[in-house]
Symmetry: C2
Subunit: 190 residues, 2 copies
């Protein structure tokens, strides 16, 4: 997506060879017009796939996922990061390790907001190790529903997430694929 | 806002006299079309106030705030809830007590995304004790900027937040004002 890649080159910052800072338009400050275009792009890519729900993980996936769900005219479900295990049968939960933040959390989905006939599109802002996206997919499949695709705003292609999701057989669509952040230089894969 | 109040009556649930559950369209599952209308309503109410930035608090304020910022064509800034104090000068921080969740956190705003000439509209999903909104206002005023208004999706008018924000002199606009949740019945103020 040209608009996004151009913005990453202009306003993004390679903090080191692993971390891309985009907090002026994606994370801390959000460019809502850019998010609208991102939503349109995901919606256009997955439009003929009968998506019935968009899912994301709180909190920085919410903005692109909301715009996508609006374009596709389907509900958005935000998976919660709980610190504790919920001890009742109303929720699906799975433990997720965040390598980036060096923490773990219980990704949580109410059984009320997923049905076996759902066709789900997962949207997230970053793909690094793929733990969050594969955790979300696990909960969706546990409910008997189908993961139709995974839409990623920024993929760090030099980290293992993309290969992991590909190997699990998911249709991954990333709007910007980062090949390298070495020596403060942002390089795209294509 | 008729559309919202009607939806609260249809799909909301008074769990007890203090807690209104709206997780089928506001929190866990989000109705993006309703959020768009909410954004339009806030934008229309504050349109002539020269708003330069919309601010909210992660994570359930993001959806209504994003739609508002899109309508007003200004950036959105999402204040982060940090567990730890940041020990450098790049951020404004204030400690906030969440009575609802019985926790505290450090509300955090990068100095890069607030300027003294900013006219800020704060948007949040719920107003209960007013701790989050008044914390956000404190950070904005610390930066020398102006809080032009506070837009709330659902105000629990029987809790002290509204009076607190009124007493601090803020222009508060709530789309649904809940008078009471007693005996499982949802009653509005007007």
């Amino acid at each position: 997506m040209y608009l996004l890649k151009n913005r990453i080159l202009t306003d993004g910052k390679a903090i080191n060879s692993e971390i891309l800072k985009v907090d002026s338009f994606i994370n801390h400050q959000i460019d809502s017009n850019l998010m609208k275009e991102i939503g349109k792009e995901f919606a256009s890519h997955f439009r003929d796939k009968n998506i019935s729900r968009v899912m994301t993980i709180e909190s920085s996936g919410i903005a692109p996922a909301l715009m996508t769900s609006l374009e596709l005219n389907v509900p958005l479900v935000v998976l919660k990061k709980q610190t504790s295990k919920i001890l009742n049968d109303d929720f699906y939960q799975t433990n997720v390790i965040s390598f980036t933040k060096n923490t773990t959390y219980n990704l949580t989905l109410s059984k009320k907001y997923i049905k076996p006939d759902d066709h789900v599109l997962i949207i997230d802002d970053f793909l690094a190790n793929g733990e969050a996206a594969s955790g979300a997919a696990k909960l969706i499949e546990e409910a008997g529903a189908k993961v139709i695709g995974i839409g990623i705003v920024i993929e760090k292609s030099f980290q293992p997430g993309r290969e992991k999701l590909d190997n699990l057989g998911f249709d991954v669509y990333s709007l910007a694929r980062i090949k390298s952040l070495s020596e403060g230089k942002i390089e795209f894969l294509d």
